[in-house]
Every structure is written in structure tokens, then in C-alpha cells.
Symmetry: C2
């Protein structure tokens, strides 16, 4: 801050009133005469006065800040979620401090949490993909902080506030669609098994193929790492493991892209020899060769919902009320393109 910031006192003196009155004008309070208000506003304008947020927060005892802990922005979902979060926070008048982590590094997380505590954030949004085993640790930290937290995309518990995409439903939609298209042996390339989202998508697939009476299910499963090369390698393993395979549900579009390349190597025509459904509906998916059938998420809405919720929690707290933990689900939907339409040929 530059040394000569104009303060509320400067304004007050210039206007010939007390700092009190200026404060009232600043906070749009009714008990100021129109005339005085006008004059003060003029002075504020000409002096270029801008209220010091720190002083205000200190005095008010509130920060008006929400802390967001996010995961690298390289992935489609997380980056869109953040967009939704930012927009909604702005709309509600909160400001946002952002911290990004790429792995779950307890030391780093601890230091970030310490920071957020010092900053007296009114709420925390945990927008990091859920990987098992660290939530107990986290929950303990959060409970010490006494700061409300909302998690994005993790499984429900009875003590957490969660805003999540129904990934299992997505897995069901994809698999069911392939069955309806007449595919008879549907495999899956899942994401890393430690990821909750991968687990759920897998669970959706598993339900459907089990209901269909599949046997030897394990042969139909291969694990990838979300990136194209693992989709490439994954499809090859899958075909090795079970040569009968005629369709694959792939847990994200990037791996599906890799699998498409593998299928060209293997001489498998899509969708005739092999049906493919991805997950995410990234902007490129419609332009894959062939265009990719996939499950569309709305991560922005997910982010926005999380913000609305934390806002509700914070507001309730101010009146001494504690809301009940719950999970709110967001629904994905199927987007059908060529890669899974057996009736048609390869042409566009």
C-alpha cells in the first residue's frame, strides 16, 4: 500500500463531519441526511478514497473470504469447477483465495490450512479429486479450525457437506447405451482405482454388466491414469484379455482418444467392430475420429452449487444455526455420437 492512502479521517475532515458519518455513508446506512450523504460522496470521489478492507474486517470481525483449495487446472473437470466457483462467489460478494495442490502432500496442505486460518476465511471449498485415505486426516484438521467446509466430488458420509456428480449413474448410462446398441461384450478402461470418481464409474458399469449376466468380469477391466497413452495401452490389454470384446466404456475422453488410436493399430473399426463411450464431453470430443459418444458433466454448475451451499452454511452460522451435513447430487447425461452407433458406418 502506498504511504499516502487517504483514510476515512481525511474524508471526514474535508467534509467537515465526523468519521462516523463517513462510515455511515460508506455502508449505505439510512441515518444520514441526503445532503450530507451527497457531500461526503463527492469528497470520496474527488479524494479517490477507498476503504481499507483490513481495518474494516478487523473491526467487523469478519473476512468475507472463501478459501478454495483446488487441484491442477490441467484437467477438464477441476478447471471448470473452479470457473463455476469463482463466478458464483463474485456474484455473492465474496472474495476468493486460491491454493492449488497437485498431489496430496500433507505438509503442503497443512501449511495452506494454517494460512487460511490466519486469513480467517469464512468457509473452505475442497475441490480436490477424492482419493481414499486422507479424509480422516482432513476432517480432523477442519474440525479444529471450526471453519465450515464443502467437498466437491467425494462420496457421502454423514458428517460432510458434499456437492458431487453422480458418477455411478454416468457409468450406468454409458454401459446401458452400449447394450442397447447391440454390443454384447462390454469392457471398461477405468481411471486410477484410488480415485473416488473412477470407482463410481466402474461401479455403474459393473452393475449393468452384472445385471446382464456377464461372467468373468475381471477380464473386462483395465485401469488407466486418465491420460491418452494409458487409453492406448489399455485397449490393447483389454483385447488381449478377452478377444470377444466388442465395446468399451472409457472413464474419460482423453483415454478414449488413446483407445481410438489403439483400435486403428489393431484394425478394429469404430463403431462397427468396437463401440466406444467416453466420459466428460470435452470440447474436442465431437471432433474425434469418429466423433465420440460420451457422458456430459456440468462441472461449472457443480462449483456454483458448492458456493451456494457454503454461503447458506455461513449465513446460518451467523444466526447461530448449524445446518445438517448432506450431499447434493448433480446428474450427468449421455451424448450420443458416432463412436457407439452400430447402425451407421464410419463416414460422417
Amino acid at each position: 500500500m502506498s504511504e499516502e492512502m487517504v483514510t476515512i479521517l481525511d474524508v471526514a475532515q474535508a467534509a467537515g463531519v465526523s468519521t462516523q458519518t463517513v462510515s455511515r455513508v460508506l455502508n449505505d446506512r439510512p441515518d444520514v441526511s441526503a445532503e450530507t450523504r451527497e457531500r461526503v460522496q463527492q469528497i470520496i470521489e474527488t479524494l479517490g478514497y477507498s476503504p481499507n478492507v483490513f481495518a474494516r474486517n478487523l473491526s467487523r470481525g469478519r473476512s468475507n473470504i472463501i478459501g478454495v483449495i483446488g487441484y491442477g487446472l490441467s484437467y477438464f473437470g477441476p478447471s471448470r469447477v473452479l470457473t463455476g466457483i469463482e463466478a458464483k462467489l463474485y456474484e455473492l460478494g465474496f472474495s476468493l483465495t486460491l491454493n492449488l495442490i497437485d498431489l496430496f502432500d500433507p505438509l503442503q496442505v497443512e501449511s495452506i490450512l494454517y494460512d487460511l486460518l490466519s486469513r480467517r476465511v469464512e468457509g473452505i471449498i475442497w475441490a480436490v479429486p477424492a482419493i481414499d485415505q486422507y479424509f480422516d486426516w482432513l476432517a480432523e484438521k477442519f474440525s479444529k479450525m471450526q471453519t465450515p467446509v464443502i467437498y466437491i466430488n467425494k462420496g457421502p458420509t454423514d458428517s460432510d457437506f458434499v456437492s458431487a456428480m453422480d458418477n455411478k449413474l454416468g457409468g450406468r448410462l454409458a454401459t446401458t447405451h452400449l447394450m442397447e446398441q447391440g454390443y454384447r461384450r462390454i469392457g471398461i478402461i477405468t481411471g486410477p482405482s484410488r480415485w473416488w470418481e473412477a470407482q463410481e464409474r466402474l461401479a455403474g458399469w459393473r452393475e449393468v454388466v452384472t445385471e446382464a449376466g456377464y461372467s468373468n468380469i475381471d477380464n473386462l477391466i483395465v485401469e488407466g491414469d486418465w491420460n491418452p497413452p494409458s487409453g492406448d495401452a489399455g485397449l490393447q490389454s483389454l483385447v488381449d484379455q478377452d478377444p470377444e470384446i466388442d465395446a468399451v466404456f472409457i472413464s474419460n475422453d482423453q483415454m478414449a482418444l488413446g483407445a481410438m488410436q489403439a483400435s486403428r493399430h489393431l484394425g478394429l473399426r469404430i463403431p462397427d467392430d468396437l463401440g466406444i463411450v467416453g466420459f466428460d464431453d470435452i470440447p474436442e470430443a465431437a471432433y474425434f475420429y469418429p466423433p465420440l459418444t460420451t457422458i456430459r458433466q456440468d462441472p461449472r454448475a457443480l462449483g456454483a452449487m458448492a458456493v451456494e451451499w457454503i454461503n447458506a452454511i455461513v449465513k446460518a452460522r451467523q444466526t447461530g444455526v448449524d445446518l445438517e451435513p448432506d450431499i447434493s447430487w448433480s446428474q450427468p447425461r449421455l451424448v450420443v455420437r458416432k463412436s457407439s452407433l452400430r447402425e451407421s458406418g464410419m463416414g460422417e
Copy 2:
């Protein structure tokens, strides 16, 4: 903040020292006996004390915050830039307030700037793609604020601090490569003409084809909007305008993807009938069909560099020094894949 936050006074009393001493311990100052320090730290621990950032900032007269104004995170470049910014800010101990805008809406920007001013940010990073005509307006706002600003990816001036990718060089690299591969009539699908980055990439292409003695250059140019459909449409127009075309430099990978689809429609084989070079090297590019030759940027490094610079500016200011505005360029490089290798066939 919950009502019963423990303060520095609580700690002082519990430790039987003055608040001053506690403050010294907090700030790692040498003039405290090891013994006292130890004791105070114990108390801090057991009481779960966490210093109030607002009080500290108010008293210190500094905020330790950098404001980042970014552009939607959907695009490859901007989202990676932000990642780089966040990481470096964290490393340097700054905290980050983030504001995202999607269009240049003066009212919104004005309100964001007002907010940043109130928050007494020590510097601003303007990470919004440069579109002509708004910089004068911005510069005026910033100069009133007296807050140092660094722009990412805009053209140089002699009054701005800029950290930019050398897009023109990228355009040259792409076009030169196509020439070296023996392509004789190289068109371009550019980004929106108002974008600085699009202009520069176009300029690079233009230089090379001009040096090569091309005529009727205008027929070789089509403008897209960065998205796949415009690449699709763009290639079709290009072939209409100049049937001799045997290669295209496309200003980003997403449009290149669209153009690949168009070339299949048109029966043009890549790279035999048509060479293609994109820009960005998104993760999917290596898995396009065929794999895409492209220009690789390092947006994270760009973001990190911007942060280091603003840090230097801020630090210099504290000692009363004003650094000289300048631009620092970051170099892109060519990544060669199948889509531009005339010697090879379509196979992988």
C-alpha cells in the same frame, strides 16, 4: 471468524510475557531468549493460536496479496498460465485473490479493480488475452491506483511490464517447417483478428510466405474463433479460395482438429495431400489422427516469470526504487509429428 479466537494477548498472559515478546516470537526475530521463545511457542501450540492477518496487515501497512485477473479457464493457455502463477506466488509467500472475466466488460473490470484497491493488493497480474482497444482505458485506471501491474501476452509498449510468448516466432517456425517439408502453397487459419496472439502468429506466417515470394496472399487467409467448428469451416473456405493449397498453419490445436475433420470430408489425405501444423501442443494433439505437428508453448513458465517480475517490482518499490518497464519474451518451439511429414504415409 468464531467469537472466541485466541489473540496475541491471551498468549502473552498465559506465558507471562508482553504481547510484544509474543510478536517477536511470531516473526522469528532474534531478540528473544531461547527459553522464552520456547515457552511462548508451547503456549501458542496448546492454545491453537493463529495470528490475525488483518490486524497484522493493518499494522504493517502491507497486504502481501497479489491480485490476479484471469480469463476463463476453458482455454489451454490461460489455465496453465494461472497454474504457473499460483505455484510461484505460493513459493514466494504471497497470497492470491483471483477474479475471472470472460469478456472485457468495463463495468465488471472497474468493480474488480475497486475491490483490489480496497484489498490493498501489492501488485496485479493481468492475465487476460490482449484484445485491442482497451489498454488505454486500463492504463488510466492502473495509474490512478498506483499499483504495479504486469501484463501477460500483450504487445510491448514503453510504459508496460509485459511477460509474453513470442507468438510471431511460433508462426515463423510452423510455416518454415512446412516449407522445408516441400509444401508449396501454405495457407493459414488464424484466430480472431482482434486478438494480439492471433495477429502475431499471422504476422509470423506472413513474413515467411512473403519472403518465399508468395502472391495473392489474402486468398490464403481465413479467420477462425479458436474452436473446432471454425477450423472445420475454415479449411473448406480455404480450399475454395485457393485450390492449390497443400498445407495450412492453424493458429491453435483445437481448430486444427476441426480442420482434420474437414480434410476427411474433402478427401484430402494428411500429410500427403495436405500438411498441417497447429499451435499449443495440447495433451490430445499427439493422439489426433494423424498426430499433430504443433508449436509448443510453456504457459506455466510464462506465469511464473510474471510473478517473479512483479515480486521484483514490489520489492524494489519498498526501497523506493522504480523499475523500468520492459517486455520479457518466452520462446516457443516446434514439435514435429505425422501431420506435416510428407515423406511418411498415414500409418503410425
